[in-house]
């Protein structure tokens, strides 16, 4: 190693100028296989106030559990119309909402399958480097033995698992609590 990775700096309040062009809240094009889910939530600060200048980025496998990336060498299909990338800025109340397909299970480092999950980065004014977290899915048998959930103390795992919104097919709720009671688990990634 000869060089040192560049220091992170905040996105600041004006990131939409440079980042809007790649916003993407509909991750799956028409005809992409898989169970359609809509996930909505809020980014909240230590006072429970919505963060109006945050931006969330998503990265996920397709419904076969295949990432559209050259280092995923699994013998599974990539799909046209599904890149696995999302980017959603919060609104004035800190709300965000996106629609995707539920990812398939992907290989974990322990030789077992990772439960379906979405990798998440969150950027905002006031945050000097991104926070990294994950969204898991409710009622998923694989969650119990999942590698990454297993790294988290049991009482905090729930912050990584979306909740079904009763009465609305495919709608789930998942909040990002930056600080304080119910603080979301963030990973050193």
């Amino acid at each position: 190693m000869t060089l040192c990775a560049t220091t992170s700096q905040t996105v600041g309040p004006f990131f939409s100028i440079g980042m809007d062009r790649l916003n993407c809240a509909e991750l799956a094009g028409p005809g992409v296989a898989g169970e359609r889910v809509t996930i909505e939530g809020r980014v909240l600060d230590a006072d429970g106030v919505g963060v109006p200048d945050a931006i969330i980025e998503l990265w996920q496998a397709n419904s076969h559990g295949k990432y559209a990336h050259p280092e995923d060498v699994q013998d599974k299909p990539v799909e046209a119309g599904f890149q696995g990338y999302g980017r959603i800025p919060t609104d004035e109340d800190g709300k965000f909402r996106f629609t995707t397909i539920k990812p398939g299970a992907v290989p974990g480092p322990d030789g077992k399958l990772h439960a379906p999950h979405i990798a998440v980065s969150v950027f905002m004014r006031g945050l000097l480097r991104r926070v990294v977290t994950r969204i898991y899915f409710p009622d998923e048998p694989g969650n119990a033995g999942d590698f990454a959930l297993g790294l988290v103390e049991a009482g905090r795992r729930g912050t990584l698992i979306a909740r079904r919104v009763p009465g609305v097919e495919g709608l789930m709720r998942w909040d990002v609590i930056m600080q304080g009671p119910g603080e979301t688990v963030f990973f050193d990634c």
Binding site: M1, L3, T7, T10, G12, F15, M19, W59, V132
Partner: protein
């Protein structure tokens, strides 16, 4: 699953802590709980790949997005995106945004009493070439006041967003200019403990990329996390 190495973690002090009390808006947004160490898995060593068609080749010239040329000092900002071993990060997306020459962003939240420039939007993007190089043509952004503390002014800067090859390499940062008198007073620039790491956020004036009679050149290399030599699986 073949054994794939993860990415290296930051050296101590070279990345900011979340809570930096002199940067006031970090106080209620910084996580209070310790981070949970996540060994890299396939989910972190992969990441979004953008097709070359994503990029309009003209988007790297911020001075040609309107009918006329923007006011201010025209500059060339160029450099290489590399990993910690000096290997080029090829075909990766670089996004930039900045204030205009008067220190005003084209954004509804920016109420600074400085003029907008009808010929400057302040955004650009580019894909690195086969050697990891990028190049933007823009105007030097102005310094501007902000509400962090009494008489707070941000040094001139350009925001950079870079994806790199993996989820683990995602970076958002800011590039500064050499000799800016505001740097010692800026809580965002100073949020990183390691002085050398801070100073690497300052671009260099560069004769080689300076275009005679046209624009000064500034060089800013971006280094992304390097690859672990050993496999991530034990």
């Amino acid at each position: 699953m073949s054994r794939l190495p993860g990415y290296r973690r930051a050296l101590a002090g070279t990345q900011p802590e979340y809570l930096h009390p002199t940067y006031v808006s970090s106080r209620k947004r910084a996580p209070a709980q310790p981070l949970v160490y996540l060994p890299h898995t396939l989910s972190e060593i992969t990441g979004p790949v953008f097709a070359p068609e994503t990029v309009n080749v003209k988007a790297c010239d911020l001075t040609r997005q309107h009918a006329g040329e923007p006011l201010g000092e025209r500059i060339i900002v160029s450099g290489r995106v590399m990993d910690e071993d000096g290997k080029p990060v090829r075909k990766t997306l670089v996004e930039v945004w900045q204030a205009n020459a008067a220190g005003r962003y084209r954004h509804k939240v920016d109420q600074h009493q400085a003029p907008l420039d009808p010929n400057f939007s302040g955004h650009g993007y580019a894909m690195t070439d086969g050697e990891g190089r990028y190049r933007f043509i823009t105007v030097r952004p102005g310094e501007y006041p902000w509400g962090n503390h009494h008489n707070a002014w941000r040094p001139a800067h350009i925001h950079f967003s870079v994806f790199g090859p993996a989820f683990a390499t995602r970076l958002v940062t800011q590039m500064y200019f050499p000799g800016d008198p505001l740097l010692p007073f800026d809580p965002i620039y100073n949020c990183t403990a390691d002085e050398a790491a801070r100073q690497r956020l300052i671009s260099f004036f560069d004769w080689e990329s300076t275009i005679p009679g046209h624009a000064l050149g500034y060089k800013f290399d971006i280094i992304l996390n390097g690859r672990e030599a050993t496999p991530m699986e034990k």
